[in-house]
């Protein structure tokens, strides 16, 4: 077990280092921006005094390294500074949005993960059958659709074309959720964005699951199990699944990471008040503190997901778990 712990500790350490370097890259890039933050912050109302104060407050007169250090120190305490565009505390702005995004991604994941694992395994078991061929064409098509295409088709089909006499569609095409929205209303409003994300992710996930399982079924120990006269269902459950854990977790982690990115477009299309939408807006208005904070959050999630996959791979490897 010691070796497992050491390996996991190494991975965790590597993850922390990666996050650190990523934050450094982000800060370094924003550093190269032309223009003065405080000038921009006060815009027309900038006076020498307010700008000087602002520079003081934001440590702009310090060197890059000192400021980076301060940013890291504050960021650890969830203090990301002030937003440029609406002059509010970034952490506050992001907090609610992050919650919304996580809810949306979680909603999509809850549907897509079990669905695509099931369908993917099925395709692997009945490979080369008509079902498999159909799945192949369907998934290839689906992964070729840009997210906004899927979103607009769904809007047209499930929302706008269903507007009845009373003027309300089946599902709203704008997800105007806020903190007080009750769960089921929220779920109803989020149906379209969640469905879009699901459709985009399911195809990827199915293909990867199928490939992983087929790869596994080709191993000699599966043939051996067949030649031992073990029933098909037992071969899957007892012989394939324990070894499939690592590849499947990898598939899930990769696709959840993909969800994180997909969320940006979907949020924009469906005007969903999440982190992705706020990031895109911040980029347009060059609202650097907001960009820095939200990019960091996205990157951290990404790194964490990959880390989880790594650790599961390590933990499920019998060679590491039971050393000679």
């Amino acid at each position: 077990m010691d070796r497992v712990f050491i390996t996991i500790a190494q991975r965790l350490g590597l993850g922390v280092v990666t996050l650190f370097v990523v934050s450094l890259i982000i800060a370094g890039m924003l550093e190269t921006l032309p223009g003065d933050f405080c000038q921009a912050f006060y815009g027309q109302q900038a006076t020498e005094k307010t700008v000087a104060e602002c520079r003081q407050r934001n440590h702009l007169d310090e060197s890059f390294i000192v400021r980076y250090g301060i940013w890291v120190k504050d960021a650890v305490q969830f203090d990301f500074g002030e937003s440029l565009s609406n002059k509010r505390d970034v952490a506050q702005v992001i907090g609610v949005r992050l919650e919304n995004t996580l809810f949306l991604a979680g909603f999509a994941a809850a549907i897509s993960v079990p669905l695509s694992l099931f369908l993917g395994i099925l395709a692997a078991l009945y490979r080369y059958s008509w079902y498999d061929r159909l799945v192949n064409v369907f998934t290839l098509t689906s992964i070729s659709f840009p997210e906004f295409f899927v979103a607009y088709i769904l809007i047209l089909w499930l929302s706008i074309s269903t507007i009845g006499a009373d003027g309300t569609p089946l599902f709203p095409n704008m997800a105007m959720v806020n903190v007080d929205t009750p769960f089921w209303t929220r779920a109803h409003m989020m149906f379209l964005p969640a469905l879009t994300l699901t459709l985009v992710v399911v195809a990827h996930m199915m293909r990867m699951t199928r490939a992983a399982i087929i790869n596994l079924l080709a191993s000699p120990y599966i043939e051996m199990a067949r030649l031992k006269g073990i029933s098909n269902s037992r071969i899957i459950v007892k012989h394939a699944l324990p070894n499939a854990l690592a590849p499947i977790v990898n598939v899930i982690a990769l696709n959840l990471a993909y969800l994180i990115v997909g969320v940006v477009i979907v949020e924009v299309v469906l005007s969903y008040p999440g982190l992705g939408k706020i990031l895109v807006d911040a980029v347009k208005f060059r609202d650097f503190p907001l960009v820095q904070a939200s990019v960091m959050i996205f990157a951290a999630t990404y790194v964490l997901l990959n880390l989880t996959a790594d650790i599961v791979t390590i933990v499920s490897n019998p060679r590491l778990l039971h050393p000679r």
Partner: protein, 402 residues
Amino acid sequence: MSATDIIPPPELAKPASMACRLGSALTVLIPLAVFAISFSADSASAIAGMVASVVFGGLLYRFWGRLSLPPIREQAIVFCILVYGAFVAVYLEGFSLYPWSTFSGLVSVVVLSMMVAVTWKETRKAPITAKFGLIIIALNILMVCIAPILAPHEQSQVLGGAYMVWGTPFADGGTAWFGTDELGRDYLSRMIYAIRNTVGIAIVTTALTFIVGAFVGLLAASLRGWVDQSLSRMVDVLMAIPPLIFALLILTVVGTGVIKLILVIALLDSTRVFRLSRSVAMNIVVMDYVEAAKLRGEKLMYVIWREVLPNAAAPLIAEFGLRFCFVFLFISSLSFLGLGLQPPTADLGSMVRDSANLINFYQYNKLMAITPLLPAFAIALLTIAVNFVVDWFLHKTSGLKE
């Protein structure tokens, strides 16, 4: 398995057939003709493009003569891509959107027709999806080449009122088949130009991605040691940031612009090509034949070029297709978010965004409402096509094992 022990009959070298020669002559002549036609649009770049395509065609012709020899195939294609990338680099000098996207389209025509010609036997037996894919790709490339000829109007020409209904005639002749956009420009013409622009940029970006990613990847695998270690760590960090997010960040900093867009996406995406080519090459450099070449005292470049690259070609070509899809979707997404090509240049992603409001008019005019879906569909169609072809190619090259 015993079936594979049967040794295929030897394929003896023979001079290129008449069809091969004719085909190669055509691939040189067609670009020439097209350039002659587009000469009036931008004479300086048309001349430059023509010279380039003649040189390119000549080189290709030389290789085509040896194409009846199977192993040259992949090398020739990789070679084409590399030469093509070099030309793109030259073109970036006197940069203007029109000529190089035309040129990149032309080179794609050459490469694609060559691939189809070389693999004609297999292509004929290809599944229906792959054939469909090839046709769609060919059509798209055609649009890249001769968009100015195909499109009834200029991309930035204002012809009538905003949001005209499908099929309305313009005041000064012609018909707005797909209506007009928010500024009164012909939607159909803009779509044709948009395909040219977006596909053109995607091709250039993918090529750049590949030249950087594949070369560095092969180099890392061949050199091993600290070079490999440090490159891999760097790539790991770059890949720890989701690409779309990273692109948003970089474009915030550097601002928008075609060249910036291309460079940023190429840099981000080359990390993935690096990963793949490195891992493919890793499996090759441990082979005894590579060791034999090293022990012979061969230089590094010889080992990479002659021993590693030919054996890495198949997965790399497939990856080229997949990368193209990714880049294409990526550019469209960025444009959709307003960070891609800047107006008045048409591109697919921003067309979707700009006309998205029409979707709300479904109750009044169904055709108008699906207008924003057209460019989105164009994106989807090309991506599907490439995916189908790559899928078939992978199935072919991996044999039965899948």
